[in-house]
């Protein structure tokens, strides 16, 4: 480490060089993690095709064509058509927009709330910490899927903003615990004392000194959280309580699959295959990020799930 900052003396402030080289080293470790790179490629392809769905596919995702019901996979319809004659591949791409957006946005909500709660609890400690952590305990003790179902029934199915909010507000607790733990250990370190001794205020210490040093576990938790959110959304939409048809999502496309399995088994296979591909890619990326950002950590057993 010391050698690297000596390698470019006088070119830039030492702190900046070290910071850049740490991210660079992390990037190189990530690139060496082959499953993670494969995950980036697969997920990137699915995301790009979904964004470009209108250009890639000649079909309308919602217009029905009753003469083309239950067409098996063919050249015109690579994944076949559904019970209303709509091209399944097209619906999967449009559904990908919804499912991936829910995953990303729900995690954004969860990470924001979790970081805020974790920061306040870890930095200010004492009774605030006690109250907030009991609250986290309570939130953890709710069966998440049961509450999601209740809200789904309450809202008579969910629109994208609702599902993002509800999922986010039920999934921030892991991040809060991680951030709190990180703050508890970092706030006693010398560089924080040093910053305080030169007169830095709480806000500056939190934002400039402690948070940047706790970013690694947050990134990993966020990545795995996206996978968990995608599974949760698809489960909910599968039960008919998430995104409502005719808007396709990977979960609600499987809603009728149990009744259509004799007529079109492909309808039960392909939408789920895309959930699986997206989630597997994200989990691989999460694994790669964990190795890249925190090379000391060896055990990687757990994983975000609904």
């Amino acid at each position: 480490m010391a050698g690297q900052s000596i390698a470019v003396p006088g070119v830039a402030p030492a702190a900046e060089v070290r910071q850049r080289s740490q991210w660079r080293m992390a990037f190189e470790r990530f690139r060496a993690h082959r499953p993670a790179v494969a995950g980036v490629v697969v997920l990137g392809t699915i995301a790009l095709l979904s964004i470009a769905a209108g250009v890639v596919s000649p079909y309308d995702p919602e217009k029905t064509a009753l003469l083309l019901r239950y067409e098996p996979p063919s050249l015109e319809h690579p994944f076949g058509t559904d019970g209303l004659g709509r091209d399944l591949a097209t619906r999967i791409l449009y559904g990908g927009r919804v499912s991936l957006a829910v995953g990303l946005l729900a995690v954004t909500v969860a990470i924001s709330v979790g970081t805020l709660v974790g920061t306040i609890a870890g930095f200010y400690g004492r009774w605030i910490d006690g109250i907030l952590m009991r609250f986290v305990d309570m939130m953890f003790s709710f069966p998440r899927l049961f509450l999601l179902i209740l809200f789904g029934v309450f809202f008579k199915g969910m629109t994208l903003p609702v599902i993002v909010t509800v999922l986010g507000l039920l999934s921030w607790m892991t991040t809060a615990r991680l951030v709190r733990a990180s703050f508890l250990s970092l706030k006693e370190r010398e560089f924080v004392t040093a910053a305080r001794s030169v007169g830095a205020r709480d806000g500056r210490i939190i934002l400039r000194h402690i948070l940047p040093n706790s970013i690694a576990p947050i990134i990993v938790a966020a990545t795995l959280g996206v996978a968990g959110a995608i599974i949760a959304e698809s489960t909910l939409s599968f039960l008919g309580l998430g995104i409502q048809p005719p808007t396709p999502s990977w979960g609600n496309m499987l809603r009728d699959a149990p009744n259509e399995m004799e007529k079109g088994p492909w309808l039960a296979i392909f939408p789920g295959l895309f959930i699986f591909l997206a989630v597997v890619s994200i989990n691989f990326i999460g694994d790669g990020l964990r190795d890249a950002l925190d090379p000391r950590q060896v055990i990687s057993g757990g994983r975000a799930r609904k």
Binding site: S141, P143, F146, F238, L254, P265, A268
Partner: protein, 317 residues
Amino acid sequence: MGRYVARRLIQAVPLLLAISAVSFAILKVTPGGPLAAYEGNPDFTDDDRKRLEAAFGIDQPIPLQYVAWLQRFLTGDWGTSFASHLPVLDLILERLPNTVYLMATVFVVVLLLSIPIGVLAALKQYSWFDHVITGATFAFLSTPTFWLGLLLIVVFGLQLRLFPLGGMQTLGSEFDPVDRMRHLVLPVATLALVQIGSNVRYLRASMLETIGHDFMRTARAKGLAERVVVLRHAFKNAAIPLVTVVALDLPELFVGALVTEQIFGWPGMGRLFLDAAFRFDYPVLMGILTVSSALIVLSNLFADVLYGYLDPRIRYS
């Protein structure tokens, strides 16, 4: 130890009270309720509404309603289902055994398979067996439970016609162990495969860490048989974190059973909850929410206590 358990149990009481109070409040602000059936009925006057609200006790402020519910709950009166007019406790007790039956089978299958697989994968690290197992566990961990269930139905139920598509037994037939087994295979596989994936990953990582310790070399140097070294020295230590993981996963299995029960038409608690949710049947929802939250809290407590018991290095104060 005894004092620690007692203190944790006492701490669990306010936690469970808070959870049930929040659940109660959530259910109260959602629409529906016992009078929903009369909405829009021209013969339903305001007087009727007031009379019925008083009869159901829902004209009181919500905190008072909660206290009244709690008092009845603690004396075993969990209310009456709006939909079936049966006592909630009876409904739950009727369904709970089916869910426990499914979970217990899954639990046994998971332990019987994940322990040898996890140990072998660690002992033969980087062999083809290890690679196949690592890949497979990762795949199952990334599969949504409901889709795995659908796939198993398509392949083994519809195409190969090996197993029935759902239910607990063939309709109209008497109980028959073979018939029951055939009905269990697919739902159990659905729940078990995901769980095995997570346990094997944990056990493998934990075994690999244990194998690196000095006491392993000492055990071998003493001339102990390899079998003894692996089972007595490595596995015993490596299994400690697994016990915690298994205990912590219990509630997840319970909640995950909801989706599986729905797909396979298994008449358990999960389906009871889903049916009740669609009918806004609050008393049933409240009962199930309370039971499952209690299960989560108790599993966490159980995991902590068990961990301390198995690993004497951990001391609780």
